[in-house]
Symmetry: C2
Subunit: 168 residues, 2 copies
């Protein structure tokens, strides 16, 4: 069993600028292994992943999603798709898988950003159409990924006001 390390969980930042260097097939597979190592309720794994590297499709997603201009530049997009018929925890499970992809990407020196789709119905419909996703399945998000051309520093946004001890 290989190892997918994340040297510093605080170093995962949203990265929206990328170089033109492609992400290798080995890296893509490692990202998907990290995704599918996420926990899921009753281990139902209500997820699918669409790997997009074709420039035309990336450009279409960039044009039609209101906040995805970085896909004009990113060499890779992974769409995370949930199956609500398999689990009513699909949003949680697909979100954990998404976070694993973001962290694994950071761990291998890639930059990435989570682009929200669900619960915006018009974005869901657009992604379903562009990527040919069957009715009944729901795209949770798009993830833009590439070699980073910007390097935001590690941080936490730890706020003690959000922490309650023993009771609210």
């Amino acid at each position: 069993m290989e190892t997918i390390p994340v040297p510093n969980i605080l170093a995962r930042r949203s990265v929206r600028r990328y170089t033109s260097e492609p992400v290798s097939e080995e890296q893509i597979t490692a990202l998907l292994k990290a995704a599918m190592a996420a926990p899921s309720a009753a281990n139902r794994r209500p997820w699918h992943f669409i790997v997009v590297t074709e420039r035309g499709t990336l450009d279409t997603l960039a044009e039609r999603h209101p906040y995805a201009k970085m896909l004009f530049e990113a060499p890779l997009c992974i769409a995370v798709v949930g199956n609500p018929a398999v689990s009513d925890y699909w949003v949680q499970d697909c979100s954990a898988a998404t976070e694993n992809i973001l962290l694994a990407a950071a761990g291998m020196g890639l930059g990435s950003v989570w682009l929200g789709v669900h619960p915006r119905a018009e974005r869901e419909q657009m992604v379903r159409e562009v990527l040919g996703i069957p009715a009944g399945l729901v795209p949770l998000c798009l993830i833009a990924i590439g070699h980073p051309a910007e390097h935001p520093p590690a941080r936490t946004q730890y706020d003690p006001a959000r922490v309650h001890y023993q009771h609210w």
Copy 2:
């Protein structure tokens, strides 16, 4: 800025048996720093965390949640609570924060397991009542955490049938 490493993302497994050793305050703070380093839509951070170490409260949660018997043994439970008024991506954001806690715990040699609450209305109401969570806020999950007394091996559940290239 400190570092919170995850030596192997594939080594995070659900751990349901713990020793009686408590989790230190430093470890609890590091888990919360990892949680609040998660991304959130428009950086709204629609989350709160309730840290429970009192045996009586842990036992009450164990008794009243249908699948949380491990809280009779766990020295620590973190309840992740979302604020839907702040963001309609709160489930995604709180799930990413939860996954960060699970991974950071594994990285520091702790064991943990995600116990589903939302969207089960009766569990939400129970947790709200036991922990005094204000109306309008929603407990997403409970996380049982402790020093592991079982050691499931690293794995991915990578399934090539869940991967689609360019298009569904």
